[in-house]
Symmetry: C2
C-alpha cells in the first residue's frame, strides 16, 4: 500500500453511500457511454471566494487566472465573483468574450496577433521583455490606440517551498529587476497608459509564511521602483502561487496569514494607498472544486496484484498520472465513488485505458472493494485537468464537463 493525498473536505456520501457532488450521485453524472466526466462544484468555488474575501478584506482584488480552467460555463460562474480575469493567450481572450471584467494578458511568447487582439480590447498587456515593449508600442501606434501596459518583473527572490519556482534565476518570464525602472520610464515617455507591475514568484506553495514573505518582498521592490522612477503604479499584480493539498501529508494553506501580512504592510505605506493590489489565483480557487469521474471496465489479477482498468486515463488527467512537472510520481486523492461510505479494504492499482504503463491513476492505493461498473473519483481536478492533458492521445472518447 502506498499513501495518497487527502480527499478535499468538501465532499460527502449520500444515503446510498455514493459520492455526492452538487446534490447528485457520482454515477448519475456519467451517462451510459464510456466517457468520463469532470464535475465542478460551484459551492466549493464560492466557499473559496468567501475565504479569500474574509482574509484579504477590501485591500486586495481577486483575479482569476483563466489558464487554470477555461471552460466557458465555469468562467461565467466565476465572472460574477471575481474582480478581473488574467489571460495567457488571445485564445483565452476569445473564451472570456462578453464577460464584462477588467482583463490583463501575460505570457512570454506574445505574437503580434496576440498584442493586436489585446490592444483592440483594451486589455492590460504585461510586458515580458524590452523587445515586446517595442512591438506593443509600434502596434498600438498602427492601431491608433493608447496601449495599456504593465511590466512583468523577473523577481530577484524565490518563493520558498513552491512546486514551481519562477524567480531569483535567469528566466523567460519578465524583465530582470534592475532593468525595470528604465523600461517603465520609457513606456511613460512613449505615451503609453502605464499601469504598473506584475510579479509571479512561483506556484503551488503550501507555506503561507513563504507566500507572505514573497509578497512583502514584492512590496519592498515596488517602493524601490517608485523611489527610482518617481512613478506610482496604478496596479500591482502580486501573482498567486496559493497551493492546494494534492499529496500525502500536505495541509491546506492558512491564507489569513497572507492577508494579515499584506494588510499590515500596506497600512504602513500611505504612498501606496491609491495603488490597486491584485492576487491572481487559479488552482486555489477551482482546483479542489473539480472531481474526475471514470468507470471501471475491468478488474483483473496479475502476479498477485489487483488492477482496476477504467474508461479514463492520463489523456484527461495528465498531472494525476505523474506526467506533468512531477519529479517522483505520487498518488493524488482517489476513491471508489460508488462506495464512498465503505471501508477501504482493497489494495489496487487504478489504471487508465491507454496502452502505456504511464497511464497510472492510483499506485497500490486502498479503496472500497471495487467491481466492474463502479465509478472511480480522482480529486483536485478543477485546475490544470482536462486542458492540461493530451486529449487526443490514442483517440479515446473526449471527457464531458459539468457544473454542479
Amino acid at each position: 500500500m502506498k499513501p495518497m493525498g487527502p480527499i478535499p473536505p468538501f465532499f460527502e456520501a449520500n444515503s446510498d453511500g455514493q459520492l455526492c457532488i452538487g446534490g447528485k450521485a457520482a454515477g448519475d453524472w456519467l451517462g451510459d457511454e464510456d466517457r468520463p466526466a469532470f464535475v465542478y462544484a460551484r459551492a466549493v468555488i464560492d466557499q473559496k471566494v468567501d475565504e479569500f474575501r474574509a482574509a484579504m478584506r477590501e485591500r486586495v482584488a481577486l483575479h482569476y487566472a483563466v489558464k487554470a480552467n477555461p471552460w466557458r460555463p465555469l468562467l461565467e460562474w466565476i465572472a460574477k465573483r471575481v474582480d478581473g480575469f488574467d489571460l495567457a493567450s488571445r485564445g483565452e481572450l476569445e473564451r472570456v468574450g462578453g464577460l464584462d471584467l477588467p482583463l490583463s494578458m501575460a505570457g512570454p511568447g506574445k505574437s503580434d496577433a496576440d498584442l493586436v487582439a489585446a490592444l483592440r480590447k483594451s486589455v492590460i498587456i504585461h510586458l515580458e521583455s524590452e523587445g515586446e515593449a517595442d512591438r506593443a508600442i509600434a502596434l498600438a501606434e498602427a492601431e491608433g490606440v493608447t496601449p495599456k501596459l504593465a511590466i512583468r518583473i523577473n523577481p530577484p527572490f524565490i518563493l520558498k517551498g513552491a512546486g514551481m519556482k519562477m524567480g531569483g534565476l535567469a528566466s523567460q518570464f519578465g524583465v530582470d529587476a534592475e532593468r525595470v525602472g528604465p523600461l517603465a520610464q520609457r513606456l511613460v515617455s512613449a505615451g503609453a497608459d502605464f499601469l504598473g507591475y506584475h510579479l509571479y514568484a512561483g506556484s503551488q506553495s503550501l507555506s503561507a509564511e513563504a507566500i507572505a514573505q514573497s509578497q512583502l518582498a514584492t512590496i519592498d521592490l515596488i517602493e524601490k521602483l517608485i523611489a527610482e522612477t518617481g512613478i506610482i503604479p496604478k496596479e500591482v499584480n502580486l501573482g498567486g502561487g496559493f497551493g492546494i493539498p494534492y499529496f500525502p501529508n500536505e495541509k491546506p494553506l492558512d491564507i489569513n496569514v497572507i492577508g494579515d501580512a499584506i494588510g499590515k504592510r500596506l497600512e504602513e505605506r500611505p504612498a501606496l494607498s491609491d495603488t490597486r493590489f491584485i492576487l491572481e489565483l487559479g488552482r486555489w480557487l477551482v482546483g479542489e472544486a473539480g472531481v474526475y469521474l471514470t468507470r471501471v471496465l475491468d478488474r483483473k489479477q496479475s502476479h498477485g496484484e489487483t488492477f482496476l482498468t477504467t474508461d479514463g486515463g492520463m489523456h484527461h488527467v495528465l498531472a494525476a498520472s505523474g506526467n506533468l512537472g512531477q519529479f517522483l510520481r505520487r498518488n493524488y486523492p482517489i476513491a471508489n465513488a460508488s462506495r464512498f461510505a465503505d471501508a477501504q479494504m482493497l489494495e489496487a492499482n487504478v489504471v487508465g485505458r491507454l496502452c502505456t504503463p504511464l497511464d497510472l491513476l492510483g499506485d497500490e492505493v486502498m479503496l472500497a472493494d471495487t467491481q466492474v461498473g463502479d465509478v472511480i473519483a480522482v480529486f483536485c481536478q478543477g485546475a490544470y485537468g482536462l486542458t492540461a492533458s493530451p486529449n487526443d492521445f490514442l483517440s479515446q472518447p473526449v471527457a464531458r464537463e459539468h457544473l454542479a
Copy 2:
C-alpha cells in the same frame, strides 16, 4: 552548454542554408500566422520500411501501431507500405476507415462499445484479461458473429534497456503467462476464431541484442504454449519496442541483428512454419520522419543567459519538454532551421510560449546565432508528438500537420 540528442541523418540544408524537408525550406512550411507545424517526410518513412524489409525478409510481417501517429494523410501513405494496422481504440478504428488492411486492437480498457465496434469490422481482438474474453464472447454471440480473438500475454521476462518496461511484473497488460494456455483452450471451445498471441515486452529500446533476446524468449514461450495446448497459433505479434535516438550518445538500432536472430530461430522450427509472425512498429517507422517547426517571437537576456521564446511549446511537443515519462529532462535534437548550415555559436534556452517554466524545448543548447523570426526545428517528432500533447493548454493556436 548542455548536450542535445543527435539530429536524424535524413535532413540537409538547401542552398540558402535553410533546413530542407521534402524539397521545401523550413520557413516555407510555416504560414504567416503564429502557428507551428509538424512536417512528416515521406522519404524517411519509405527508407525505414525498406530497412525493415531488408532485415526481416519475408519471414516477419510489418504492422503499423496507429497510436504513434494517427494523422489520416500519414496513415494513407503508410497503408500502402505495411501489412496491417494495430489499433489501441475504436477511435483509431474510425481513423483507419476505408484503408484495406488487416486490423487488430489491443488496450487494457476496452469497453463494450470498443468490442462491438471491433467485432463488426472483423478486427482481431487482443484480449487483455479473462473478464474481457467473457465479454467479447457474449457480445459476439449477441452480434451473431464469430469473434477473431488473440491473447495478449503479460511476458514473464523483461526487455532489457527499454525506455518503458512492460514485462516480468504485475501489469494491466495481458494475461499472466501461466493462465494463457487454459484461456486459449477455453476460447477454442467457445467456438471463437482463435488467432494466437500478442506479447509486448517494452518500448524505445536501442539494444538490438536485448530486443532479439526478448523475441527469441517469446518464440520459446509460444512453443511451450503449443506443447501445453496442442494449438498452433495462426499469428504471433512479437510486439515492437524498436527505439530511435533522442538523446546524447544514443545510437541507431541495428535491426539486422534482430532479423538474423528471428530468421535463424524460425528456420529451426518447422512446426511454426505456418504461423505468421508480426512486428508492430510505430515510433521506429515514423518518429524520425517528423520535424516540429516553430518561429522565434522574442530574444531576450536574463541574468546573463539568452532566451528564445517561440510560438510553439509543450502543448504540441510534450515529450520534448521532458514531461512525458522522463525521469530527468534531457534535450531532444533542436536546431535553428533558418540557419541550418551556420556554425553553432549561440548558447540559448529555447522556450515555448506557455506561461509555465515547464515549457522548455532546449536547455542551454548551442544554436546558430538566432534572430526574431527565425524558425526553430525540434526533431524526432513524427511519433508521440501532437496527439500525445495537451493541445488545449493555455488555448494557444493549434499546430498544422503536413506531409513532405
